[in-house]
Subunit: 307 residues, 2 copies
């Protein structure tokens, strides 16, 4: 595999990928696939018309994991990728995406990833996407993920979207159509610091009776960073939706949170709640009386909050 120690470290951080996998995977580095493996049930092929891959998961595939992380290790690169994923009926699989940027120089490094995921009838997936930026250079690290999810009848999707640290600018878009009896849970965790900016937009349409969606957003804006949240759930059927946004602001951090719920069916039940505030002083004091410094106490609280 054409990967050095740094690449392996990034892979570990963003995809919990240790270089040895019994399952299917595709590793993309600086705009090219550097390694790919299909399995009997999970076929990964490059797209012929544009940059990216097709992942086709056979019906009834159970307990398999697919990794398809992306690494950027050059300064001044813009990598755009289109991935199409089809999860066969009654499968139960884990998809691990994620992108790590190690920008060694002074130019901007950017990754724009579009994932189209179709989850067939009765299938279940856990989709994990971590974003991380690092590197000694001062070049900007930009990540713009877009995920378009179609959930067929009675499918179940858990999405865990995390931006760990070091991403200077991000526009995150998550669109989902949830059909009859299907269930979606999206958990997003964002930490921004320095002068970083993050925008997260979600549009979830509950299209079939018995569909449900839950959006859980936890975010921390430190220093001079800014975050904007715009999750929306539209209920077009007898369905349930809930949005919870909890945010912590520190120093000059700014957060704007505007979840929207729209009921277009009289049997829809939609709720949301949001709170923005600073770290609870009583928690902080409690940890400090246990012997932690203020910084350590803050760190413990933030880790718990984003866990």
């Amino acid at each position: 595999m054409d990967l050095d120690a740094l690449d392996r470290e990034l892979l570990k951080t963003i995809a919990d990928f240790h270089g040895i996998s019994m399952g299917a995977f595709n590793i993309r580095k600086d705009g090219k696939s550097v390694e790919r493996k299909s399995t009997k049930n999970i076929i990964i092929e490059p797209k012929v018309d544009k940059s990216g891959i097709n992942i086709v998961i056979a019906p009834n595939t159970k307990n398999e994991v697919v990794h398809f992380p992306v690494l950027l290790t050059l300064s001044g690169i813009t990598d755009v990728v289109y991935n199409t994923i089809e999860v066969g009926e009654n499968s139960d699989v884990v998809l691990i995406a994620g992108c790590g940027i190690h920008n060694p120089g002074s130019k901007k490094s950017q990754h724009d990833g579009l994932h189209e995921i179709t989850v067939k009838k009765g299938a279940k997936i856990r989709y994990i996407e971590k974003h991380y930026g690092g590197g000694e250079g001062k070049g900007e690290r930009v990540l713009n993920p877009k995920t378009v999810l179609t959930m067929e009848e009675d499918s179940v999707v858990e999405m865990e979207l995390t931006q760990i640290k070091g991403v200077d600018s991000t526009v995150r878009i998550t669109d989902a159509v949830v059909k009859k009896g299907a269930k979606l849970v999206v958990t997003e965790r964002l930490l921004t610091h320095g002068d970083q900016e993050a925008i997260s937009k979600m549009n979830i349409i509950l299209e079939g009776d018995g569909a449900s969606a839950e959006v859980i957003s936890r975010s921390v804006a430190k220093e001079n960073s800014k975050q904007v949240f715009k999750p929306e759930i539209v209920a077009k059927a007898k369905s349930k939706g809930h949005i919870v946004c909890d945010s912590i602001i520190m120093e000059n951090g700014k957060i704007s949170s505007s979840p929207a719920i729209s009921a277009e069916n009289p049997d829809a039940e939609l709720t949301h709640e949001a709170a923005i505030g600073k770290i609870a002083q009583d928690q902080l004091l409690k940890l400090m009386t246990l012997g932690l410094s203020e910084n350590e106490a803050v760190d413990v609280i933030l880790r718990g909050f984003l866990k």
Copy 2:
């Protein structure tokens, strides 16, 4: 007073005004002031450059009420009015606005009212605005109120905004700037039915330390009606804001609720919650076992909800 029985009925409905008042008032009917009275502490004058009045309330005015309702009783009329209200320091008064449209014909009757209210240091007001549409005609009844509120230090404002029924289309805008130590509570109640549409936008800026704002929205969308809520609180200081939106949808009613909270100060505490659903079935059943018909039970629940 140039008012007939119908006018008096409308006045009672929208302004709890029974034609006899010890206080200051201005009654506007079909685009003209028909009656006006100032008192020692509350001076009402017509504007010279445009349609509308200036209300100036002297400092330290206590326990006085000003009525300034608007009536439209013609079909095919568009009435635009600009009212400027200044509430002097340390006053404690009640302002009762409101508009009633009795449209007897087939043409649109529309009232656009812009209220600019400045509440001086330490003053306290209760601002009540009711909107109602009636009349045997099929002409549209349109009400577009805009209120721009400036709250100086330590002032207190309670706004009660109600759209009772019969208003075909409304765009309601409420903007407020809340300075140091000032406290704003806005309660909005909206009922729409038929093919009515209602849009309510609020923008509240918490500008000074110790400022607070609470927005309570209760709405019912019946039949084919549509409502859109966009309340926003922006905290630029050590301040507190809370938004609660509760909505009931019936038949084909549609409601979209997207409260926004933006923290631009690390000591801001902002929260919101919203829920959209139909009438709780257990409440309905309980009332029906007490002998009410389904319609009566619904009516009792809605009246309680909007009270």
